[in-house]
């Protein structure tokens, strides 16, 4: 009875005190928070230790998503530091290979170190397995349809065995160590483990930092979502296929196939596209220009070749942007001008730069001989020269006579201008013209008739070639008609008329010698030809009668 009443009292007391005590505790907690913390703190360590000891896997799974990320951030930072170290090392190294890598890095917009790490690497996730840690049973999987693994169960079990073997073998002092990766001929299996499960990711080629991060994130996500199902896995796979765990793995498969290339795409510098484009257009322009130039060149060459007078000369053409440059040698400027004229009219020709050189090249002996013959003909056509020649290639010998040194000199100068003559042998004799001219008079007259004046002008032209010191003889003849005295008077006057005309018209300063004969000239019959008997004969002291008067 007493017990019962005590119980009732206790209960009543409890009910009554509870709100008060709670209030006291609350207020006490507020005021002695620090004190309380100090009391509880020492208990926390052993409590966690105990929990870890008994429920290690639970603790690991609870912490995995947090710690996984923490570690991944730490690792990422460490890796970045490592990359910058490598970069520094690379910058100090200068070799052709390093230089090439530098250029590539600049063009792709990635760091050299990454390039160095990614060299020969192409990451490609082939398969992802979520494996139950103890049994090795595949809980969920995602595979690249092109590289499907036939027996994933066997692989998973075997890998689990290997994992267990290695972990047990390397574990020391109860400290747990995890197998992280299995490498085999360029491929690898990345193992990321949580407490009850692990992900085995089969990667073809190299794995990138981003790949590891994504794997870690995926496992973290799976553990936080399905951790309980995994822990309680007994063998029923139905649960996992219903939960569609594989859907969580598939993005990882896609991630590394696409994201990696996307990564590279993003990192590709825009110049990478512009430079080849520019190069391509430049190359196209060059090709077009070269084609146009070639076409025009062909046109010009054909035209030059088909023009008969130019066919035999080797003319070179260069075409640049419609400007035609001609070069070569032609014998006459006519040819040069012809070329310019022809090409200027060709379509698409902007201008002609004619660098053709005119080289008179009569090196053919026959041509040279003909040229000399032609020249001699020309020279002989004028009064005072009577020339012949012999031409033995390169050596010319000129013979004949010339009325004066002046004429001779002129003739020789003409020969000197002929190409193909090296030496000229001068055998020209200077001989002034022989003058013997009768000036006739009408009966009883002493003045000069028109015919007489005309004859005297001819004499004067010859006298130009005569030596000034030579003496001009004037001899008068009569027709024997009338008395001798009259005839002598007429003769004297007739000589004076001739002398006067010559001196006045010819302005000559030669010395004159007069002689008067009271006979007609030799061989003239004064009865038959009285008009030929009345005359004054002009003769030249020295000279050759080669002039036709």
């Amino acid at each position: 009875m007493q017990d019962e009443s005590t119980q009732i009292e206790d209960s009543a007391l409890q009910d009554a005190l509870s709100p008060i005590v709670n209030a006291i505790i609350d207020s006490n907690y507020e005021s002695t928070k620090e004190q309380l913390t100090a009391h509880i703190a020492p208990l926390l360590g052993p409590a966690i230790k105990e929990q870890v000891k008994n429920q290690k896997d639970d603790v690991v799974d609870a912490l995995y998503p947090v710690i996984g990320n923490m570690i991944s951030r730490y690792v990422t930072k460490t890796l970045e530091e490592m990359l910058s170290n490598i970069n520094a090392q690379i910058q100090s190294g200068l070799s052709i290979k390093a230089l090439k890598r530098k250029v590539r890095a600049k063009m792709q917009g990635v760091s050299e170190a990454e390039l160095l790490l990614n060299e020969n690497a192409s990451s490609n996730i082939q398969a992802i397995f979520l494996i139950h840690k103890d049994t090795g049973i595949v809980l969920a999987q995602a595979q690249n349809p092109n590289h499907e693994i036939n027996d994933s169960d066997m692989l998973a079990s075997m890998m689990t065995a290997i994992r267990s073997f290695v972990n047990d073998w390397v574990s020391q002092d109860g400290e747990s160590k995890e197998l992280g990766e299995i490498d085999y001929s360029g491929n690898k299996i990345i193992i990321e483990a949580s407490a009850y499960s692990y992900l085995a990711v089969i990667v073809e080629g190299a794995a990138y930092r981003a790949t590891y991060e994504k794997i870690r994130d995926t496992l973290g996500n799976i553990v936080s979502l399905y951790g309980e199902n995994i822990r309680e896995f007994e063998g029923d796979l139905e649960v996992f296929s219903q939960l569609k765990v594989y859907e969580k793995l598939e993005p990882l498969l896609l991630h590394d196939n696409s994201a990696q290339t996307e990564d590279i795409k993003m990192k590709t510098h825009p110049l990478m596209y512009i430079v080849p484009l520019l190069l391509l257009s430049w190359w196209g322009f060059i090709m077009y220009k070269s084609y146009m130039n070639e076409t025009l060149k062909e046109k010009v060459n054909t035209l030059l070749y088909k023009t008969a007078s130019l066919t035999s000369y080797r003319l070179d053409t260069k075409v640049e942007d419609g400007v035609v440059t001609l070069s070569g040698e032609v014998p006459f400027s006519y040819h040069k001008q012809l070329a310019t004229k022809l090409i200027t009219n060709v379509r698409d020709v902007v201008s002609v730069d004619n660098q053709i050189i005119v080289v008179p090249t009569l090196s053919d002996p026959v041509q040279i001989d003909a040229h000399i013959a032609y020249l001699i003909m020309g020279l002989n056509a004028q009064s005072g020269l009577n020339l012949q020649y012999t031409y033995d290639y390169e050596n010319l010998k000129v013979l004949g006579t010339a009325w004066s040194e002046e004429l001779k000199k002129k003739a020789l100068e003409s020969f000197a201008k002929v190409k193909g003559i090296t030496t000229i042998r001068d055998e020209i004799v200077v001989k002034p013209p022989l003058i013997s001219k009768n000036i006739y008079f009408d009966r009883g007259f002493t003045s000069l008739s028109i015919e007489a004046q005309s004859s005297l002008i001819k004499v004067l032209t010859l006298l130009k070639y005569a030596d000034k010191n030579t003496v001009i003889h004037l001899t008068s003849y009569t027709d024997l008609i009338g008395n001798t005295q009259d005839n002598t008077n007429l003769s004297t006057k007739r000589i004076a008329s001739v002398e006067k005309f010559l001196k006045e018209q010819g302005k000559i300063s030669n010395k004159f010698v007069f002689s008067e004969k009271d006979t007609p000239p030799e061989g003239i019959d004064p009865i038959k030809e009285p008009q030929k008997a009345r005359c004054v004969r002009i003769t030249y002291e020295k000279g050759e009668n080669n002039a036709s008067l």
Binding site: K133, T135, G136, I162, S164, F165
Partner: protein, 165 residues
């Protein structure tokens, strides 16, 4: 669809590997066995996929890796019907299994039963009573194939029931 792990346990040379080979037609090469101490085979029966872990036989120089036992849904403890010492080891093997997986069902295979032996029903009963989790004791012959499928089927039936329960 069930998938679980079954581990073969027994002394060296009792015929574990032969039993597995007789049972499955798909197995890893024995080279693995000598390398990491386990050979794994897969066999689908009924609605289950059995992953058979054939652990390297225990010798005094080579302790088995206990990790290989963990997670198993059932065990097959194998002994040579004609080698008494291997039969005596059964008790120790059962303890080993249960130290790893508590209350896991166990089938005992007394192998090489094609060879003349003196083991009788009484002895078999005694073996079955070694643990309340011993499902059944079979006389098997990997050579002739007798009772090989039975032992795996029996174990599967038992495990399947417990999983689906």
């Amino acid at each position: 669809m069930l998938a679980y792990k079954v581990v073969m346990v027994g002394d060296f040379g009792v015929g574990k590997t032969s039993l597995v080979k007789r049972f499955v037609d798909n197995s890893f090469s024995e080279e693995y066995l000598s390398t990491i101490g386990v050979s794994i085979s897969k066999k689908a029966i009924n609605d289950s996929t059995l992953m058979l872990w054939d652990i390297e036989g225990h010798t005094e120089f080579k302790p088995i890796f206990k990790q290989y036992l963990s997670g198993a849904k059932g065990f097959i403890v194998v002994a040579d019907i004609n080698r008494q010492n291997t039969i005596e080891s059964i008790q120790r093997h059962i303890e080993l299994c249960h130290s790893s997986v508590k209350n896991a069902p166990i089938c005992i295979a007394l192998n090489k039963s094609d060879i003349h032996h003196t083991l009788d029903e009484n002895d078999m009963q005694k073996l079955k009573e070694l643990s309340e989790f011993v499902v059944e004791v079979y006389k098997t012959s990997a050579k002739e194939g007798s009772a090989v499928a039975d032992i795996f089927n029996e174990l599967d039936e038992h495990i399947s029931k417990s999983i689906k329960k």
